[in-house]
């Protein structure tokens, strides 16, 4: 008989008023006992709706049964048969819209805590398991992967297992892409990211940092150098701005810049680490996605007294994961929904002093299906702020499309691919992740990387 508790086994967390002053991980993870107890909530149903909600098709009930039986290494093997980065996915996947969103237990009560168990299994493996010797038979073919983020790592991991020689080219000095520069330490510890990438490197994947494809070398040159296929997973590395007056004042950052300074360059350790990050006392973050929550919570941890989320729609439309919104609120972030910034004002030294905001009301749904905001005339007011962080999304980085003849892209910059084969308009070139879809999630990028690896294999094996 299954455990019919309506609630997930609670996961311990740092107290909000303690954690909003440190960069340690917020959620502390399940113990063995908690994981085994939560596993008994799974009904092991026949049609496995949870698996259909997973972009990489992890056999979820199978791994949960292993957890229930206390066979954690067995559970790890089941998960990693389909997902190379479980410690990361267990932490940052929007489970409520994926596996857990489809769980029948969620109809009445909370769904099974799949993400929490995935995280437990991956952490258990890292702490306890000995690395297994893997023997891979090489097939003598070379594939290049552009970008060492979730899409690229996944694609490389899949291809290396199939016998290809795989080189991943990374523009920054550190692998991981958005896992390294974007998602903060308190949500995704960086040594854990490094370990998961190491696992893929141990399989034989060669990661070359400091190579900017499009500048240091072009895709055509890679093909001339014997790479029979190229997978482009270069991400969405071009920040959008609001295009309102005052955006170039001092104290205005893109979320990318702010988070990169803190995460990749360890600005929170300044001056021990020499890259500075400046955060004032009153910080406004524009936008309400996961990146906005990351920026706001980071600003709070860096000592800002008041941190606002300024968003032109209402809470219902906010694209962030529920857990992120919830954590941000707990940590004292102030939400200003239905507030749209129209100008940023500066003091006599050029530093941000105020943000002019117009209040909004919701009208009919727009093309995104969300109710569109309209300004309320005469509702303008000034909010005192000394730092502004723009977190309204990113576009695909233009370097590759500008330097790769024959590669077709959307008007907004996304690389065009055949959704079935992940092929681009250029022979031998595949693409996936944010560079195709625009900014999305880690797991969707991983799914695309995996699909591309299968397509590349099929093509190169001449099937």
């Amino acid at each position: 008989m299954a455990n019919m508790s309506l609630k997930k086994v609670a996961m311990p967390e740092q107290d909000p008023n303690v954690r909003n002053k440190n960069f340690d991980e917020v959620a502390l993870g399940y113990t063995k006992e908690m994981a085994m107890e939560e596993a008994t909530r799974c009904l092991n149903c026949k049609n496995k709706p949870c698996v259909s909600g997973c972009p990489v098709n992890v056999p979820i009930p199978e791994f949960i049964q292993k957890v229930a039986a206390g066979d954690f290494e067995g559970a790890y093997e089941v998960i990693t048969s389909e997902n190379a980065l479980p410690a990361i996915c267990g932490r940052v996947c929007p489970q409520e819209n994926q596996c857990e969103g489809k769980c029948v237990r969620g109809i009445k009560g909370e769904p099974v805590g799949i993400g929490r168990m995935e995280r437990f299994v991956a952490d258990w493996h890292m702490a306890n398991a000995k690395p297994a010797e893997v023997k891979i038979e090489k097939n003598g073919k070379k594939v290049a992967v552009v970008g060492c983020g979730p899409a690229g790592i996944t694609c490389a991991g899949e291809l290396i297992k199939k016998g290809y020689d795989v080189t991943v080219f990374e523009a920054l000095h550190k692998p991981g892409g958005v896992l390294s520069y974007g998602i903060p330490e308190f949500r995704l510890p960086k040594d854990l990211v490094a370990k998961e990438i190491e696992t893929v490197e141990k399989l034989g994947v060669d990661i070359e940092t400091n190579v900017i494809v499009g500048r240091s070398v072009t895709i055509d040159e890679l093909m001339e150098n014997g790479y029979e296929a190229v997978f482009v997973g270069s991400g969405a590395g071009l920040p959008r701005f609001l295009n309102i007056p005052g955006e170039n004042h001092l104290g205005v950052y893109s979320a990318n810049e702010f988070l990169t300074r803190v995460n990749l360059m360890k600005g929170y350790k300044f001056p021990e680490c020499p890259t500075p990050v400046k955060v004032g006392n009153k910080v406004a973050v524009v936008g309400a996605g996961n990146v906005a929550m990351d920026a706001a919570r980071t600003a709070k941890r860096l000592g800002a007294e008041e941190v606002y989320i300024v968003y032109r729609r209402s809470e219902e439309e906010a694209p962030a994961r529920l857990e992120e919104l919830h954590h941000a609120k707990e940590e004292g972030i102030i939400f200003k929904f239905l507030n749209n910034p129209v100008a940023i004002k500066a003091d006599e030294n050029g530093w941000v002093s105020q943000m002019e905001i117009v209040k909004q009301e919701l009208g009919e749904p727009d093309e995104s299906g969300r109710r569109s905001p309209h300004p309320i005339e005469g509702s303008n007011y000034d909010l005192d702020v000394d730092t502004v962080i723009i977190a309204i999304g990113q576009s695909p980085n233009p370097l590759i499309r500008k330097t790769t003849p024959g590669l077709e892209t959307q008007k907004w910059g996304g690389i065009i691919v055949d959704e079935e084969t992940m092929k681009t308009s250029k022979d031998g070139v595949y693409a996936g992740g944010d560079t195709v879809t625009g900014a999305a999630t880690v797991i969707l990028a991983m799914g695309a990387g995996k699909k591309s690896a299968a397509a590349i294999d099929k093509q190169l094996q001449g099937e």
Binding site: Y181, I212, E257, K266
Partner: protein, 274 residues
């Protein structure tokens, strides 16, 4: 990946030159482009312009002024040592084209990126002149190298210890007034110098290219920290530049943005005992 310092030369008490083994950059770089260097683990990413390159030896030459924490750290490295990271080439190559005569204007270490640009123009058959400026004779760099291909090398120093006493802009105005016809001016140096050059060239309507080196992190368009207003539009110096039409650049905004972390620059040196 580590990058070996093949050669190090002291150009004066504050300015040094390093030739660094960096195959990817050396194979592809063109005049006007830059690199980002990180001296050690946890180091800052520092953008520096490319002064020269050798495709066969696969080396790239950088010239830097010891200014803040990271350049001081770099200067502690010697021939045979390695730097942690060296990535590029970044930015667009300079838009060099054939014309009747070009004059380059360099202030301080601005002479470094100007050198490969003028040399390339000269190789394209364009007659070139140059004005090099510095605080004093000691801080006028690369004079002999420019003399190899420039028709005229003019010097301006603040204290008059070499060439004309005064600013490069004084010499530039004098050259223009003397009747020499210049089709284009390429000015690289401190923002205030480039701003003042443009003030003059605008008056005489001589197209002027300037090179910007604002604060940035990744150099690939990702952070947006290097945004500059050019002709009323926001551009990213790392991917749209670093060269821009000097007539259109909002220099005052550039100067303001350059100072965003001035206090921290100071704090960093104190915090790290320098």
């Amino acid at each position: 990946m580590v990058y070996k310092i093949v050669k190090k030369t002291k150009l004066n008490s504050l300015v040094e030159m390093m030739e660094i083994h960096a195959p990817y950059v050396a194979r592809k770089c063109e005049p006007g482009q830059f690199i980002i260097i990180r001296v050690d683990e946890d180091g800052e990413r520092v953008p520096l312009t490319i002064a020269d390159y050798d495709r066969e030896k696969e080396t790239v030459t950088i010239i830097y002024q010891i200014f803040g924490y990271s350049t001081e750290l770099l200067s502690k490295k010697e021939e045979g040592d390695y730097v942690q990271d060296f990535v590029g080439p970044l930015g667009q190559p300079s838009p060099l084209h054939k014309c009747d005569r070009v004059i380059g204007v360099a202030g301080g270490v601005g002479a470094a990126p100007l050198y490969p640009q003028l040399r390339k123009l000269s190789r394209m058959g364009v007659p070139v002149d140059v004005i090099i400026g510095g605080k004093s004779a000691e801080f006028v760099i690369l004079k002999e190298l420019f003399e190899e291909f420039c028709d005229n090398v003019y010097i301006a120093t603040d204290d008059g210890s070499l060439g004309t006493k005064g600013f490069v802009t004084n010499v530039l105005e004098e050259r223009i007034n003397s009747g020499t016809k210049y089709d284009e001016v390429i000015a690289i140096g401190p923002l205030i110098m480039m701003k003042n050059v443009v003030k003059i060239t605008k008056e005489y309507n001589i197209p002027t290219t300037v090179s910007l080196n604002p604060i940035m992190i990744d150099g690939t368009g990702m952070c947006g920290g290097c945004r500059v207003t050019v002709g009323g539009e926001t551009k990213f110096a790392c991917v749209d530049g670093p060269d821009f039409d000097g007539f259109k650049v909002d220099f005052d905004e550039c100067m303001q943005r350059q100072g965003m972390f001035r206090e921290e620059e100071h704090q960093c040196k104190i915090g790290r005992g320098m």
